[in-house]
């Protein structure tokens, strides 16, 4: 059943709910039986505040699963996606993750976008020694042996970007972000890079999540005249920020915004004209040119509609399923456990849409950082592509701490 079909069939749902009433009382649910399939969980919010982004991750992961099944599955076994909707609520994430990992015995769960939802899933994942595939860029400083991190950590977003900024735009940075752990951590790392490069932070500001009035911030930007606006504003806030920045007639030629979080999804909401001229740093852009990406974008569009976009998180949601498949192929079909999958995944190379990626022994992913400049058609032109694959260092900002194959090591 497709996600949007239900609106058309409310009456049918009513009837169905009466017919399937007995199943409401049993604990079996829809997960049991079906013999030889490999159960995998999909835990992306289809409703609620983050559904706009997470439903694209859900779509990308589901597409990968169905592509794999269409090509014959793994060892002749099909992947059976078990879909849950945690409704953008951390407590519901924890509840649904339990269901997937304990009751439905999924060997892996793919899910979530926000850090808070990952944190909610973590206790049960670690306790049950399951494997959680998390596709989102995040603040680093986590070293779980039960999470596969597919997104960029601060050093992968900034090691290429910040020196390039100082060289080409100047050393005076204005930092603006939402008030939570991700922006603070990115800014901490940026400051440590700047101190080596001789840059300075003229202002560091945090607005509450969902904040949408940036007039005072924009006034300060106007009076400070920084060389670089270093933005870690997320979601709706970022859309509001970009629009007001444009409405205030600040020229991206003179004062461009460099965002770590703005992807094709946000740009679609901002509108191409207001976003044009500003920059983002990410390992993937929809406009990246590679045969793998052309295939990915085309398949995604033909499946979900020509106006849909792919972005740096949905790309990871997609390639992580293929990483999972490649790990399964290395295993003895009779002996598939989450930990065996994890061990088989380490060192695995895969041609992803962004380039050939590699899973580090610390379970983060080696990625290809890029810098893109947004165009008025809502796409980014990739200006800079890192010459080499960048290794993930989730504790880069913390001297003496490294995330290794044995977990966190403190010197």
């Amino acid at each position: 059943m497709k996600r949007r079909d239900f609106l058309g069939g409310v009456g049918a749902v009513g009837t169905a709910s009466v017919l399937s009433a007995p199943s409401l009382l049993t604990t079996a649910g829809r997960a049991m039986a079906q013999g030889n399939d490999i159960p995998v969980g999909l835990l992306f919010s289809l409703t609620g505040a983050v559904a706009v982004v997470e439903s694209t991750l859900h779509n990308a992961a589901l597409m990968a699963i169905e592509e794999i099944n269409a090509a014959g599955g793994v060892h002749g076994r099909k992947l059976r996606p078990i879909i849950e909707d945690p409704a953008s609520d951390p407590a519901t994430y924890a509840d649904r993750a339990r269901r997937l990992m304990i009751r439905d015995k999924c060997v892996s769960v793919f899910g979530s976008y926000t850090s808070s939802s990952r944190q909610a899933v973590l206790p049960v994942t670690e306790q049950r020694k399951n494997l959680y595939w998390y596709p989102t860029l995040y603040e680093g400083r986590e070293c779980s042996r039960n999470v596969m991190y597919g997104g960029a950590v601060p050093n992968q977003q900034q090691d290429v970007l910040v020196p390039w900024l100082v060289e080409n735009f100047g050393p005076r940075f204005f930092m603006i972000g939402n008030n939570y752990v991700y922006p603070k951590e990115e800014n901490n790392y940026c400051k440590s890079l700047l101190s080596e490069l001789g840059g300075e932070v003229v202002s560091e500001e945090y607005v509450p999540m969902g904040h949408s009035d940036f007039s005072s911030v924009i006034n300060r930007i106007r009076s400070e005249k920084p060389d670089v606006i270093f933005a870690t504003v997320v979601g709706d806030s970022d859309v509001a920020f970009a629009r007001q920045y444009h409405a205030a007639e600040l020229d991206p030629e003179k004062m461009p915004v460099f965002s770590l979080t703005r992807s094709e999804v946000e740009v679609k909401a901002i509108g191409g004209e207001a976003a044009a001229g500003h920059f983002s740093s990410a390992p993937y852009f929809m406009g990246h040119k590679s045969p793998e990406n052309e295939k990915f974008v085309e398949a995604y569009k033909s499946r979900y509609g020509g106006d849909q976009v792919t972005h740096f998180v949905s790309e990871a949601a997609y390639f992580q399923v293929y990483q999972f498949k490649a790990a399964l192929e290395k295993l003895d079909p009779a002996n598939i456990t989450p930990e065996a999958i994890r061990d088989a995944a380490v060192g695995l190379k895969l041609k992803a849409p962004q380039g050939e990626i590699l899973i580090d022994e610390n379970l983060h992913t080696h990625l290809w950082p890029k810098i893109g400049q947004w165009q008025s058609n809502g796409q980014a032109e990739v200006l800079i592509q890192s010459e080499e694959r960048v290794a993930p260092k989730p504790y880069a900002a913390y001297e003496g701490q490294t995330c290794t194959g044995e977990g966190l090591v403190k010197a």
Binding site: S23, R30, D85, A91, S115, Q119
Partner: protein, 368 residues
């Protein structure tokens, strides 16, 4: 009065037997199912706590989640300290170099347990004193408590160095009581929560049938008249508010143990409104019914989302609308009406005083 008390006692005993023996047997003592059900039971305490202030005293507290969250964070702070050697990790990330003073006493389990009850009671009492001294009533209580909730949640999110901000408190240890490390998937833990709920319900049933409860009901029906009888209305209202807050804090402590983290969403508006819905579905006049409401709604939510991933939210919404339209007094109302009709088959269906007065409240939007 006394016969009603007997009915409630019987209901309480049946309820206790079902959750103590029936439910675990039905679930085959399966760790996952028991853990899920323990979550519902913890929420049931929050719901019955609201029934005390809303159903008995007519004070609709939309800030119930705030006191729930206080209890939840108190427990989480203790467990976080147990899990970390030295400073909790998130403080380091927020450039906090020393354990904040407010965290220090949470090293002690005894203090934590007390704080989880008394801090919510104190804060609840403080808001209550200001509200009820000023004779604020009806819809304004709801507005003030809602505003308090929103402000409190913002405060918690903004004090990142102390509260973990948006992510909340995660990476907690398991509670270790003398001789027992509480595993949230164990049968023992289930009985801990079930026991807590039963005790909370017993307190609730006793209170509603005591003289104290009678006066509260009098206040609900007509505060002025009660005042003229010489009762200090504000004191009674404050007392029930404190008690309800303490019970919510208790529920919060258990909830943290079930889910193994504390999140600012526990003090969100939507969670607070959810408690009101559970209470309304079960029936706010009876604490047992309110607890049952929480369990039923949450079970329904769990099962519906299991069977209909696509439309469960919509279906829940429709169910709530139907309940409000056709069962304004919740499940409890249906049961009492049916019982009445069985006892007096000839008498035509008549609304009780309570219902007519509460309908009046809904229509005029305020209480006397």
């Amino acid at each position: 009065m006394t016969s009603k008390f007997h009915y409630d006692l019987i209901a309480l005993v049946i309820f206790a037997i079902v959750i103590a023996f029936g439910v675990p047997a039905l679930m085959n003592y399966d760790g996952f199912e028991l853990n899920t059900f323990a979550r519902y039971l913890a929420l049931a305490i929050a719901s019955m706590a609201l029934a005390l202030s809303w159903g008995t005293a007519g004070l609709l507290n939309l800030g119930q989640a705030a006191t729930f969250g206080m209890g939840s964070y108190a427990m989480a702070m203790h467990l976080k300290l147990r899990a970390s050697d030295g400073l909790p990790d998130f403080m380091g990330w927020n450039n906090v170099s020393e354990l904040p003073l407010i965290w220090v006493p949470f090293e002690s389990l005894a203090f934590t347990l007390l704080a989880g009850l008394l801090i919510p009671a104190f804060i609840g009492g403080l808001t209550a004193v200001f509200m009820f001294r000023a004779r604020i009533a009806g819809v304004f209580v709801a507005i003030i408590t809602l505003a308090f909730l929103v402000a409190f949640q913002l405060l918690v999110i903004n004090q990142q160095g102390m509260t973990g901000g948006q992510n909340g408190l995660t990476g907690l240890a398991q509670l270790s009581l003398p001789g027992w490390t509480v595993d949230p998937y164990s049968t023992g833990f289930y009985y801990l929560v079930a026991g807590c709920l039963t005790v909370a319900l017993a307190i609730g049933v006793y209170l509603t049938h005591s003289k104290f409860g009678l006066i509260l009901r009098a206040i609900r029906e007509d505060a002025d008249r009660t005042r003229f009888f010489g009762y200090n209305v504000a004191t009674y209202q404050t007392a029930i508010f404190c008690l309800s807050a303490a019970l919510a804090g208790w529920a919060g402590m258990l909830y943290t143990m079930v889910l193994e983290f504390a999140s600012p969403t526990y003090m969100g508006v939507s969670f607070s409104l959810a408690i009101v819905i559970w209470c309304a579905v079960g029936g706010r006049e009876s604490v047992i019914a309110a607890a049952l409401g929480a369990i039923i709604v949450n079970m329904l939510e769990g099962r519906l989302s299991d069977v209909f991933v696509e439309g469960w939210h919509l279906m829940l919404g429709v169910i709530f609308v139907l309940v409000v339209m056709f069962m304004p007094r919740g499940i409890y109302g249906v049961i009492t009406e049916t019982a009445k009709r069985l006892h007096h088959p000839k008498r035509r269906h008549r609304k009780t005083d309570l219902q007519s007065s509460s309908t009046k409240q809904l229509e005029t939007g305020q209480e006397s």
